[in-house]
Symmetry: D2
């Protein structure tokens, strides 16, 4: 319980460092009888791989997840699923320059103060590389939820630095390296990344993800509201600094008469709430937004201290993403899937024998 486990019933426990021999996850609590193969995981791992686009880190990793347990004759057995992904393209010598000093804005300094020392190679456990394990686990949730209840999840880049992107074609997001839901904006996004590369700088981003066909009733009233658990999961993503549900920060300026989503026999009239009421899914689409800070590994020189506390200058070289948001969409999707899966099982545990006389209504289509 050093916080490497996510979920209460669908539990994902991860391990691994950026430059260790391998990373992985144990997925505990998956229902039995689900058809599952390594190819199912790969479908979700592929979009977040590095080295596949010119716009992200050039580290080349196959990211092939191996299933070590919990699957027999092609189906989940109900026992814990062990997943391992080998690290193959570590270049640890890149990090010798930063081993005795702290990158400003990076976890370096906090790790040093917490643990007394740190694995400085590639950021160790604080590296975004670790999210491979989470994405693999999310692929299992995705398959179960899609096959059993038709629930689907889709994410996209809704902002990169100054560029806000409308979700004109969400389904197109996976087809381009920016996960842009508006393909017309691709040239603009490319130009911006090239400029960042030239400046040796980085930029923040905002990711949006939506779950559709969510049954009503998922989530617990008090502390483990589904939005609270989503906030926990999303803020647990590297670089996340804000999580919004539905209209998010905009609600602070809204009137009650404006925010409330009226109900009609044909469905809700709007979805300001983002699919939750009182922390419980309403049957509307579940919408979450995550704001990610710009990565701290940049080539613009800056001031910091070294291990003994002396003032030193720092410049980070190595293979870094100018915008971590460009690989974050699969991670946000995975987190959303894991949280929904967890609450689907939690709800079945407590309310598996409940019937409501009130008809289920959904989002405006």
């Amino acid at each position: 319980m050093s916080g490497n486990t996510l979920g209460k019933l669908f539990c994902v426990t991860t391990f691994g460092e950026s430059h260790g021999p391998a990373l992985g996850a144990v997925v505990d609590g998956c229902p039995p009888g689900l058809e599952l193969s390594e190819a199912d995981l790969q479908a979700d791992l592929e979009p977040r791989r590095t080295g596949t686009s010119r716009f992200t880190s050039q580290r080349k990793e196959p990211d092939a997840a191996r299933i070590l347990s919990g699957v027999f004759e092609g189906r989940t057995t109900g026992t814990s699923i062990g997943l391992v992904v080998e690290n193959t393209d570590q270049r640890s010598r890149d990090y010798d320059k930063i081993k005795d000093r702290f990158r400003p804005g990076h976890a370096d300094y906090a790790y040093q103060q917490k643990y007394g020392f740190r694995d400085y190679r590639g950021g160790g456990r604080s590296s975004a590389r670790i999210t491979v394990a989470t994405v693999a686990a999310g692929a299992i949730a995705r398959k179960y939820l899609r096959e059993r209840i038709g629930l689907t999840v889709q994410g996209w880049l809704s902002r990169m630095g100054p560029i806000e992107i409308e979700a004109r074609q969400p389904a197109a997001a996976r087809a381009n390296p920016f996960f842009s839901p508006d393909p017309d904006r691709l040239p603009e996004l490319e130009d911006y990344i090239w400029k960042l590369r030239r400046d040796g700088d980085s930029v923040g981003a905002r990711i949006t993800a939506v779950a559709r066909n969510v049954p009503p009733g998922l989530g617990e009233p008090m502390f483990d509201r589904i939005d609270a658990d989503l906030a926990h999961a999303m803020m647990g993503i590297n670089a996340a600094k804000a999580v919004e549900i539905g209209d998010g920060v905009a609600v602070a300026s809204q009137l009650g008469s404006e925010h409330r989503d009226e109900l009609t026999p044909a469905g809700f009239r709007s979805n300001h709430s983002g699919g939750t009421l009182g922390g419980i899914t309403s049957g509307q689409d579940l919408a979450v937004h995550v704001s990610l800070k710009p990565t701290s590994s940049i080539q613009v020189p800056g001031w910091t201290i070294d291990l003994e506390g002396n003032a030193v200058e720092i410049v980070t070289t190595g293979r870094h993403d100018p915008c971590v948001g460009l690989r974050a969409v699969p991670i946000v999707e995975a987190m959303l899937l894991i949280v929904v899966m967890d609450h689907y099982l939690r709800h079945r545990a407590q309310c598996g024998d409940v019937a409501s006389a009130t008809p289920v209504i959904t989002s405006p289509r």
Copy 2:
């Protein structure tokens, strides 16, 4: 485990409904030897009481928390602390009108679909009244952290609807019914609330809370980052729709060279990160912002459905807050305190024997 427990080592389990006989909490894991009395709890309960200001609900409740266990001869014993607060001013008949229909934007409909029926009196467990128990628990954390490590927490109203409020005098926030950190804005805030009252409408708000003298090292690297656990706790507050750490949603537009907080032997040069790096406290002030939606209990007529799914119109009468944000500051503070306390104990468990050679630096003062 229907989500009524917050925290892993400093565990707060709450119970109670708006119109039941009583509500309360069990606080498990408090270190022994802390001097604690009911007066200590009351100091935190008082600011969130209803019926004390013309600007909030007129329900009159003494909110006197009784300590039933875990304290002996004025000191905590290390065993679980039982807290109970009686409900005295319920007016359940106000709710007969809404028992067979769902307030748009309210938890009513989601509860119905989850549990098959609901306690409609005053919102039942979804009522903001329940936060009394959380605030009482937070008061215990506040006392321990202040006395043992000098950590303090302060919150304020940073936005009410269209009115943004600068934190000119954070210490003044507790002294006025709006928790405004700028007393000069009080007339403007009052006028706005009176207008809302006349319109029978409600409005959203944004709360900010800051912890000072936070030791570095609190938080876990992966899923249970301290900011992730803060996000969980804050999004678990009634009406919360967004949680931000440090610069929050603004980071999506920032450059890396702009966001990173440079380190110097005299301290950090800025605090865009809000006091966490890689999910672990940096020793800087921990800053969190919560956006709250406008309450759904308003007198503006709206459309909804009834228990059988028929279209009906609804108007909510009764004693409601036009802006729930006005009583949310103590709750946000309590959540911040509980999360920090929990991670203080978690850190001591794992790293109680760690020494770092690197000096501790703090926020710019």
Copy 3:
């Protein structure tokens, strides 16, 4: 998380001391829609009350459990159920004599070393009085399991010191103050207790409890086997020093050909296993045995040390049970019920959509 919560989905969190104002529990995770009243709890609380028999402590307590939340119009709502029982007959001055010395065999010394001081009145939190809260929580599980799946639990005294008691009429156990499943042995048991009283001594006991109509499939394969969780719960009862499932310690001497319970289309041929195979219920009756040590509060003088570590003599006066086993049957039943309930929900969560083609068989009748 100082260990005052039992269960993962059906969670019972207790608080209270022997001589504090009140004790109680929060029961979280109960399914909604269960008819529940205070009378339902009282039916289970009555048999473990003190002051009702000449053979147990003479402390007079009504043990009336008040339901503070989680029940609306006579049915559970699915939210947390707060239970409180007031303490009314404390006689704390009895304990002044032991406040500065440790009863040998009692928790006194261990509490002192753990917490630095202790609530010495009536044993504080280590008192058997606290089990009132557990029994009340167990009554909720009993009602749900009986009404929904016909599962019943029955316990009895299977040994008191030298007297072993056969389960000739298990149903008769609740009808006598010894919980003896053989009414013919009552005179012998009475004589033995009177002799203990005269000697100022105490004696150990063994309790047996059986659950019938247990569905197969409850329990998790690895660490949270149902027998492991039963062992945890039972060893968590005051004075417990051994937990056995089925044939228990006798299995160490058995042959494989003797121990295994053969299966036939008409049912199992024997039940050496006590109803679990690989940690999962087999559909046979679930049988557990708990051995309880003699209470340490006796009038036979003994040697001990005082708070400063000096050698001193001690004699315990006050109102104590000569055999704590005589009130332990309801507690063992409650623990069995809570664990089964918890695993019933856990199983529904993960395997709620599983169908097995193999017919279910049961215990020999």
Copy 4:
């Protein structure tokens, strides 16, 4: 949370099946700075390996645990430690004969009813092979506890079927394949095993393990007593049917004046309690006993049913242990170490700043 995690702060999550590609564990919560290598794990894995003695299963496995994460430059980093052990000598075809029928006394039938199907190869997840992962995790706890507080754990075989073995030389137990603490009994034990082999039968056993130099104060008063958590861990070992602390089942026949361990300034006078008082360690040696049933995989024909419920006869061939107790000592030791480690951290979390004025006393030596 299908029960594959043990511990609350020192958390061991395991995965793997007898005939899958690999098995392993994630150890989360280990303090940073502990020197750790794969050789440290191997020291504990070696004694439980199969194929090393004529008296146990002939399956040949190197059982080499690979550390995949959480260790940097030879020291634990404080992040999760991934461990993997490859399976190399599976002979799955041995199991074709039992795939459509249930071994009496085996987990087969319960798995079928729980999950709807099962991995029948070598018992799948119910195989004792899985304990490799637990033993590797225990080795980490062993190293930490020995190096930091001088705590040591030693186990031995205290009974094999009819043969009771006195602990004349506990330190000798690891030096013989029976883990006998009395080397003089080895010929007798050998003869008995050969007889069992000839008969194609199996036999039960009892294991004892003791922890020395245990600090007082570990354990929580109510449900998570250290003995309760030990009971949970021990009953979670394959084939366990009884767990005893200290005098165990014998306490049911003891008098209070006989059982209580008197305290003197020079130490306790006896250790009937087995090192715990009120669920908290007393500073005496912690003593636990586990009774293991005979394995169900025997060559004596027996009756059972097949997947459709028809009566069929069964004989188990393959490579099985005639007495699973012979390899259980390292597992019992590992469980004891993990539980003590977990409570050591839990105690530090809550009571890290407690000082008791009372001197610490220990077991009679």
